[in-house]
Symmetry: C2
Subunit: 405 residues, 2 copies
Amino acid sequence: MTFQSMWAELLPLGRSSASGGYRRFAWTGADAECREWFREQAEARGLAYEVDRNGNQWAWLGDPAAGDAVVTGSHLDSVPDGGAFDGPLGVVSSFAALDELSRRGVEFTKPLALVNFGDEEGARFGLACVGSRLTAGELTVEQAHRLTDADGVSLPRAMEAAGYDPDAIGADPERLARIGAFVELHVEQGRALDLSGDRVGIASAIWPHGRWRFDFRGEANHAGTTRLVDRRDPMLSYAETVLAARREAELAGAVATFGKIAVEPNGVNAIPSLVRGWLDSRAADQHTLDLVVTGVEKAAREYAAAHGVDLDVVRESFTPVVEFDHALRDELARILGKDTDLRVPVLGTGAGHDAGILSGRIPTAMLFVRNPTGVSHSPAEHAAEDDCVAGVLALADVLEGLACR
Amino acid sequence: MTFQSMWAELLPLGRSSASGGYRRFAWTGADAECREWFREQAEARGLAYEVDRNGNQWAWLGDPAAGDAVVTGSHLDSVPDGGAFDGPLGVVSSFAALDELSRRGVEFTKPLALVNFGDEEGARFGLACVGSRLTAGELTVEQAHRLTDADGVSLPRAMEAAGYDPDAIGADPERLARIGAFVELHVEQGRALDLSGDRVGIASAIWPHGRWRFDFRGEANHAGTTRLVDRRDPMLSYAETVLAARREAELAGAVATFGKIAVEPNGVNAIPSLVRGWLDSRAADQHTLDLVVTGVEKAAREYAAAHGVDLDVVRESFTPVVEFDHALRDELARILGKDTDLRVPVLGTGAGHDAGILSGRIPTAMLFVRNPTGVSHSPAEHAAEDDCVAGVLALADVLEGLACR
């Protein structure tokens, strides 16, 4: 199958007709359709298909037990109303790169695997990269069992409903020990390649980033009859905190976003009892990120106190700065540098990835494909077909260079 | 049945074990249970039970066709996580007042009816007083058919699913023509009676009030990789508008509240494409309310423009100032004034009621029962049993005075 035909097959799965975006949330029907597609692609190529204890899908060429495997892949799930490229481009490109190497008739000297990591976006349970975190031992079984979705369904129950065994989950060091290198191809989620005029780039580092939940608790009351002075309205403190986050991020040259909110009781004529807002913040280094988040929290506490509102701040997830393996990064640059037509810049990113999680355990690298608008996590996310094909060829070169040497 | 035993029967219906508040939304299972309770109470007393074309429930004593009927009642539905008293106190007190008059052995010279109006709170379809608005012709059939809930279920489909005929809905002037007076008893939703030390009050007027929907549309994008200068983040304009509403209301001596919000895609790591906030605002007079809402909208447009965000403002509902019928109000004061132990102040309110909707068509009046904290639309809403009993006796006196003269 060509890149284009694989892409066309995957395109309608889990797509919302209302928004045109994707709602491929972990362990839902749309997720199952994507996973079935992965299994079919693996089997159509005669690859050895398996699902690991954490629900990640693998397709092997060669003997996994031989060790020093070269692995590539990404994820197929999406944020709410996400785009078509974030995740799937890496998975489809993996299969397409394998097909390209088959055409080239190369002989692999190492085992090769393609992977689809489960629940990368964390759209359903609020924690990103659950599949790779579990495998890497960065998320304990107890922590995973406590995750629940907006309807109160726990991760174990959701996995069970999707036909997986939640009692099997946990760290998987033997699996990681078999991997010599992991390379994830991903659409760029900014405009760096577009601004520099390049099709493909190599990742240098992932900014440290995290999610903080701000629970502002006031008192529910009638919006028509409660005097302003008698109110303890948490929406006011929330609003002030949203603006404080923007100011702190601007001052620090970082980013900070309140993109998700949950309000109780969320009635037009009721002062809220609870406004829960999630802060996503990232910066080029740890010190800067600390400054931003500390500043936002300090401001929020002052606003809450002024309104008689209680505030709890919980850090829900955190990923320190990830410097990708320098030796592997240089090897990728060397391999791709052989093609004199392709200039491959090295760039950092504010987005988290499974590659970032795994980089603490095994040598990992990332390839980025140009995003002409920089738009991501949106139905408008896009990459030109020419650039996608350039990404496939670059990935094929990398796999050939790593697995055939 | 005593007031207390009726109260105890109704108490568990539609109650959330999580919040302790009520989720009795129109045409849901919890609503059906409350309606079944009303039917049983009517039939247990040998009253003639009927449901009108708009789904409002009626229980008649005497011949409706005789005209000049005296009607009392309220509603049984709730806001999200509402209290036990807002609505049900008026319905339960109606049955209890009838029982009291039965004990007194009074002879009615006019027909008497008890009523439970459907969908007063508007919690599900976003418009308050749907049952009385339809009956009064204040809401057209076309407008009602366009109402949808958060899941996209239309009002007609919801009525149908609950076993009612949505094709029958519409203005009901013949029914209103049979009514000589409507009296609604309601828990006070402020602290005026508590501050004056009175158990029961008579309504003078309902403040003009309305709901405006603010749709801030920006561009969904990745929260980690999109530079602040490239963002069109509608959450920022929303936050600024929330604070502007508070300032405008403070300046004008009015109230303004953003208590409900809907965000798309509502992901932690996504800049929102849409932030939809609902403004509820009320003031003692029309001019003041206009000033507040105009001021908020003007500020919101400036904020939106500054962030490259589009703004639509839609007035979803509006109720002008309601001056209750002066003759009926004076009659209530005269009747209750005979009891020298009961001082009955006359007070205004910022809350809307079915009585306010009907006041444009028939003489209406309201009785308020003391609320010691003023808290309403909250699980903490409360009224003391002694005050509730005083309300029942006052309502019985009023019904006797109006229907036995």
